[in-house]
Amino acid sequence: MPEDGRALEIELRVNGQSRRLGVEGSTTLLDALRDRLHLTGTKKGCDLGQCGACTVLLDGQRVVSCLTLAAQADGRDVITIEGIAPEGQLHPVQAAFIEHDAFQCGYCTPGQIMSAVALIQEGRATSDEEIREHMSGNLCRCGAYTNIVAAVRDAAAKMA
């Protein structure tokens, strides 16, 4: 990392692959993923940490990538929606979202799925009430919440 702090060389491990890239000190992880690495599955919604569309896993924990600086992710492990299942296959949460029609426009869906994957790993999918509480960081302006809860419940049961 050069001394001036403005242009930085960082290394991210994204979906299992090591990626070196140059960023500004003020570049967010979200912009680095989308604009530099062309992983556009992660969506930009509010850019203020309020909608959850940009949710990714950082060292295995769900975070909003719009409020994470790329420089703060230097040397760390990032999983995006592109990396949750092997090429050509669906993650059980993705399959459940399709089965339960858990979206309408689909813009919030990658973030919803990343959050759901983390929620199930956290062991927080024990009841609909708990799923709702622990999905509260992901907004859906189409209002697909009922089907999202059903999809998460179903995926959690299948993954158990």
């Binding site: 000190g25 003020s26 940490g49 975070v63 409020l67 600086l69 420089a71 703060q72 959050s115």
Partner: protein
Amino acid sequence: MALFRYHRPGDLSEAHARAVTPGAMYIAGGTDLLQLVQERVTQPAEVIDVNRLAPPEIETSEGGVRIGAGAKLNAMAAHPLVRERYPVVAEALMGSASPQVRNMATAGGNLLQRTRCLYFRDVATPCNKRQPGSGCSAWDGQNRQNAIFGGSPTCIAVQPSDFAVALLACDAEIVLASPGGERRVPMADFHRLPIEAPEIETVMEPGELITAIELPDRAAQRRSRYLKVRDRASFEWAVTSCALSIRMEGGAVSEARVAVGGVGTKPWRLPNVEPAIVGQALTEQVITSAAERAAEGAEPRQHNAFKVPLLVGTVRKALREFAQMEAVQP
């Protein structure tokens, strides 16, 4: 995002030397700071990443518990030392923000989060906190969410941390470090009232860093809980909240801390409610008359007068639920 430089200092003295230069700011979780940059409320020239300087460890210390300033909100809420000894802290944390933000935000940064006052975050309007001397738009404006305690015509912005309210009920101390050494500040004295300089929110000196929060053993001997009232069920700041930390002996209250959030320009203790329950059994009559005193001294404005009865009801409900909890597990 507006451009700024990023630095990751190797030690505290380097961090301090950089932090006292104009336009420099510390960044930890970044969940509040980067929002403020995005909305042009704050425009740092340089951010100094203190994540590797702020330890995340949570451990016992001198009978109490020491929380490293870098501990994430979710990690604190899940830690047995916090959950078992200071449930009010765990409950306040689990009621804060969203799961994603709780994985990012730190103990130290949480105490320094800026107000949610509409005008502070709207750069088109005057705000003494954002632009000293420009005036307070909330005083005669949309002040539904503003403070009823500790305000003045210069500023009525609420300090929004739930964690800080719970720490106040637990008599926590904030450990501050600079190259000159460490000092401890009681939670009660950490935030400043906005009377003269609303833009200066804490007693921290320029370049000082929060390194830990210490919870005393004495507070672990009390039973505690947190009740939060908000406009929606989750992922929302408090309209009102109540942190209780109470010791019962022989069926009566022997020691009590009643702190409230959503209503003060800093975390606020209720000096008239605490003596009204000390020495008493928590009967419905004692609870009701003590809660009636919750809003004494309140100075509501046009749109937040509802917080006076709401605070009374919040404290009453918190005390009732506490009494029921005691009845089940005395």
